[in-house]
Amino acid sequence: MGKQIGLLQGTLDMLILKAVSLGPLHGYGVLLRIQQISKDRLEIQQGSLYPALYRLEHQGWIASEWGESENKRKAKYYRLTAAGKRRFQTETEKWNRMAEVIAGILHTTPEEV
């Protein structure tokens, strides 16, 4: 396990959308899924996960309903809504463009300026 890095501001929402886009998950499942995809390289404040989920649900990008978990307990499952899917797409595009631009800037050598 390498060194964990903190989350950039505003990226948690995107990660949650990505996580639930692969199938409905409960809150703890979202945490596990993100850790799994990121291969444990990201540090996520568990406590900050729920406000983010509530915010996304409030905005209508994810929806929730109660279901039964793997360990046979009642759990609240979140899934992506159609609006959420569109939102996720535009956010991904925006992120990619941004990353490209930033990377381009950071890789610039003195000769290129």
């Binding site: 406590g47 729920y50 406000p51 209508g60 609240k76």
Partner: protein, 874 residues
């Protein structure tokens, strides 16, 4: 869609609060327990797993709080919490709270009251159908003109006229003079108000020789006919005739500019007048066809004027018709005064708001430490601003609650003292629109003037404050500068208002010192109208007048005479005249002069000075040479320098004749219509020599030895002993008439004076507040100064100098602003320039005195500072 989603989510969260809480608990518990189970599965002890789960999750309550916030439920709760907290804080400092609420109430209350009047007079549409289509003009029309314009004016969909005439209502216990509106059927049609009972005049009713029918106003129906629901078809007596009631108008209906009790057809009640083109006595009202503009109507009327003048040069040459919107015409007289008054209350409101903001700033400074502590404990900036704003809004709403009863009181006073120009607007009262206005003003005030202090409050700098450690936290200099700026603005505004008031007072004083041309002391004027049926013939009229004057003059101490229209009662009559021996003037172009018939020693009774020749005597009677007395204005205008005595004049377009009248005397000018206007040329002739039998109205003027009511009773008895069926109206002393002619100006002046006084008090409080605060902040510094040898007078200079500097800037700005703004009130002034240096100087001195007083009080406290205590005071 998204909005709906959020709203639903918010509603669920807010109203399904318990459910949301339990869901949230369950979800988080599930998270932590599953996490712990996973750890146990990886070989961690259960106890250790639970501990780590709790630790890694972080603050559970904070997470929950953020969840609630994410769903928006926090909003209402925070608000309730803020309000509770705000109320508690306000209760803890009753002095500040009372000052703030009172300041706002004093600003908002009068404002709401004046807005009530403006709303009723200028904004509320007139109570007619589509009132924006209605127009009228200043000049009057004869019935024949109205008929012509109706047939030629293709841009009007209708029109009608009205003229109030005094008739005797004979069904009451004593003969009663009532105002009958002589109308044509077009009037009801053009105003478009349906009757409450029955019907209005039809074209068949309104024809020569038509049936004698009458339409009552609501007021007459209620007061004289006891709101009889079966009134239709009953008959009432007017003069010597019986009229059948065909309709009653609703309470909201009034003729635009006249006070009328009932309506009869002019063609039926007074056919001679309806056939007479030359006497323009009816006010007329017209409705523009849809799509026709005012300028199109004006152009159309110019064409009609020209046609009428060509067809009837003798009667219609002087036409110059300018249609104006009815609303503007009705409110024209009060409009300038109302705008000035509303500007004045706005100034008062602004000053009150500035004081309010200043109070909040001072308080912010005083609560600096509280803010620092709250920021240090993690209070968010937005949260702090919101709390501060909630407090100022609370104050504003409370201020509004106090302001509304105050406004209601002001409206009552305004209406009670209402000048004649407002008399027409019966329904001036606080209505929902006005109450909404008051509260909107309060809330806006709280928001706008609370924002700056709130902003300031939220800028509490923790590290800076902590550096100052135990020292009394001083307000930011920026905050204090802001308050000083507010006071400077207040001084400037108050100065403008005071100057405006000063100008009105000066105008009023000059107007009061205008010589009316007669001596009003102990003179009473009693309006008498001779009924047409019994006094149609001139000899009968003369007989009655002569007999009455004889009897009145035999009353002990009384001196009586008669005049057609006494000065300043609003009446007057003009005729055109022709001078003997001058080149003939084209028909219709003869000069107009005021004309008065008199009997008895009118000039002697009224103490009107004789300038040349003689006055009229009892010998100037029927079958004697015709004579006339003119006033100085006429002599000046038409006999410039030459002696008018012995010259002859006659009425233009008289019937028969020529009837030349010799000028036998010149009398001093008398103010007939208003003290503010120059006197028009006037001709006085004896009643006994007139050949105009329609001059049936007159005023008996009596100068009495003392102002006792018994003599007035005696005069009335004499009139009724001659003819018990003669209605008397308007018994008024000349002093009263003089006062009435000034009433409106006095009203404006007193109101503006009241507002100016209010503004001055508020400014004084504002200055006092700023300086007192600065003294309290500088106690330490003053202590040091005194310790190193400053004398008390130095301290005095230090403190008062602060006030004087603010005043200097404020007064300069105010004087410049005043020069610009007082020009707008030229219409309300008399005999004084809007930039009158004397008024400006007086006001500046007054303001300086106020500033000195307001800064002297805190200065006295500063001088009493004991250096030893001040230096220890930390």
């Amino acid at each position: 869609m998204r909005l709906w989603n959020r709203l639903r989510s918010w509603l669920q969260a807010t109203f399904g609060r318990a459910r949301m809480e339990s869901d949230m608990d369950a979800e988080i518990r599930f998270h932590m327990e599953t996490f712990a189970e996973d750890l146990v599965r990886n070989g961690v002890s259960r106890e250790e797993a639970t501990r780590r789960a709790r630790m890694e999750f972080g603050g559970i309550d904070r997470a929950k709080e953020e969840c609630r916030e994410a769903r928006g439920v926090r909003f209402l709760e925070t608000l309730a919490q803020d309000i509770r907290f705000g109320l508690r804080i306000l209760r803890k400092s009753p002095g500040f709270t009372a000052a703030a609420i009172l300041t706002l109430a004093l600003g908002i209350g009068p404002n709401t009251a004046i807005f009530t009047v403006i709303n009723a007079v200028l904004l509320r549409p007139l109570p007619y159908a589509n009132p924006q289509e209605l127009v009228t003009w200043r000049s009057n029309e004869s019935q024949m003109d109205i008929d012509d314009i109706r047939s030629q004016g293709t841009f009007f969909s209708g029109g009608g006229g009205v003229n109030p005439e005094l008739l005797t209502y004979t069904n009451g216990p004593e003969p009663l003079g009532i105002h009958a509106g002589y109308v044509d059927a077009g009037l009801f049609q053009v105003l478009g108000v349906p009757p409450m009972l029955g019907r209005t005049l039809s074209p068949e009713d309104d024809s020569f020789g038509g049936p004698r029918v009458v339409v009552l106003t609501y007021r007459f129906w209620r007061e004289y006919r006891d709101s009889d629901p079966n009134i239709i078809g009953k008959s009432i007596g007017l003069d010597e005739n019986q009229y059948t009631v065909i309709g009653v108008m609703p309470a909201s209906f009034a003729v635009p500019k006249n006070d009328v009790d009932l309506f009869v057809s002019l063609r039926v009640a007074y056919p001679e007048a309806a056939r007479y083109r030359g006497v323009h006595f009816m006010s007329s009202y017209w409705r523009l066809k849809p799509g026709v503009t005012l300028s199109q109507a004006a152009a159309g009327m110019t064409a009609i004027d020209a046609r009428l003048a060509a067809d009837y040069p003798a009667e219609e040459k002087g036409r110059h018709t300018v249609p104006v919107p009815l609303q503007q015409s009705v409110t024209g007289d009060v409009r300038p005064a109302l705008w000035v008054l509303s500007a004045a209350v706005c100034v008062v409101l602004l000053i009150a708001c500035a004081n309010f903001a200043s109070l909040l700033m001072a308080r912010t400074a005083a609560r600096h430490r509280e803010m620092v502590i709250r920021v240090a404990l993690g209070g968010g900036r937005r949260r702090l601003i919101r709390q501060a704003l909630t407090e100022s809004m609370l104050l504003a709403v409370l201020g509004g609650c106090v302001a509304l009863p105050l406004a209601a009181l002001c409206v009552r006073l305004l209406v009670a003292a209402k000048p004649a120009a407002l008399a027409h607007f019966s329904e001036i009262s606080l209505d929902p629109a006005v109450i909404a206005f008051g509260f909107a003003v309060s809330l806006l005030t709280g928001l706008i003037f609370g924002l700056a202090p709130a902003w300031n409050a939220s800028r509490a700098d923790v590290s800076e404050a902590l550096k100052q450690a135990g020292r009394s936290a001083t307000a930011s200099p920026a905050g204090h500068n802001f308050r000083r700026t507010l006071v400077v603005v207040e001084i400037a505004l108050a100065l403008v208002l005071l100057v405006a008031t000063g100008l009105l007072i000066e105008s009023f004083a000059r107007l009061r010192s205008v010589d009316p041309g007669f001596d009003p002391a102990r003179v009473v004027a009693i309006g008498v109208q001779l009924p047409n049926t019994r006094y149609h013939e001139i000899p009968k009229q003369i007989e009655f007048r002569r007999e009455l004057l004889g009897r009145l003059n035999s009353l002990p101490g009384a001196q009586a005479a008669m005049v057609g229209d006494p000065p300043l009662n609003g009446g007057g009559l003009t005729h055109s005249i022709v001078f003997e021996g001058r080149p003939p003037v084209a028909e219709g172009d003869e000069p107009d002069v005021d004309t008065f018939c008199v009997m008895g020693d009118y000039f002697g009774v009224m103490h009107i000075a004789l300038r040349a020749g003689r006055t009229l005597t009892a010998m100037d009677r029927e079958n004697q040479p015709l004579v006339a007395v003119i006033n100085e204005a006429l002599a000046r205008k038409f006999f410039s320098g030459r002696d008018p005595i012995g010259r002859r004049i006659r009425w233009a377009r008289e019937t028969g004749g020529p009837h030349w009248m010799s000028i036998v005397g010149v009398v001093a000018d008398v103010k007939q219509y208003s003290l503010a206007e120059p006197t028009d040329p006037a001709v006085f002739t004896p009643f006994a020599q007139t050949d105009e039998n329609w001059r049936r109205w007159m005023s008996v003027v009596v100068r009495m030895p003392d102002s006792s009511a018994s003599l007035i009773r005696a005069v009335k008895q004499q009139i009724w002993s001659l003819d018990s069926q003669i209605p008397l109206n308007r018994v008024q002393s000349m002093d009263e008439l003089l006062g009435l002619s000034l009433a409106e100006r006095q009203f404006n002046m007193s109101l503006l004076g009241l507002f100016a006084a209010l503004a001055m008090i508020l400014v004084a409080v504002g200055i006092y507040g700023v300086i007192a605060y600065s003294v309290s902040q500088r106690t330490h510094e003053i202590g040091i100064r005194m310790a190193v040898g400053a004398r008390r007078v130095d301290v005095l200079r230090l403190v008062v100098g602060q006030g004087v500097r603010m005043a200097a800037v404020g007064l300069t700005v105010g004087i410049l602003g005043g020069f610009g703004l007082t020009r707008l009130m030229t219409k309300l002034l008399f005999g004084v320039a809007p930039t009158d240096p004397f008024t400006f100087a007086t006001v500046v001195l007054l303001m300086m005195a106020v500033v000195l007083l307001a800064s002297w009080i805190p200065a006295r406290r500063a001088m009493r500072v004991n250096p030893i205590i001040a230096l220890r005071y930390e």
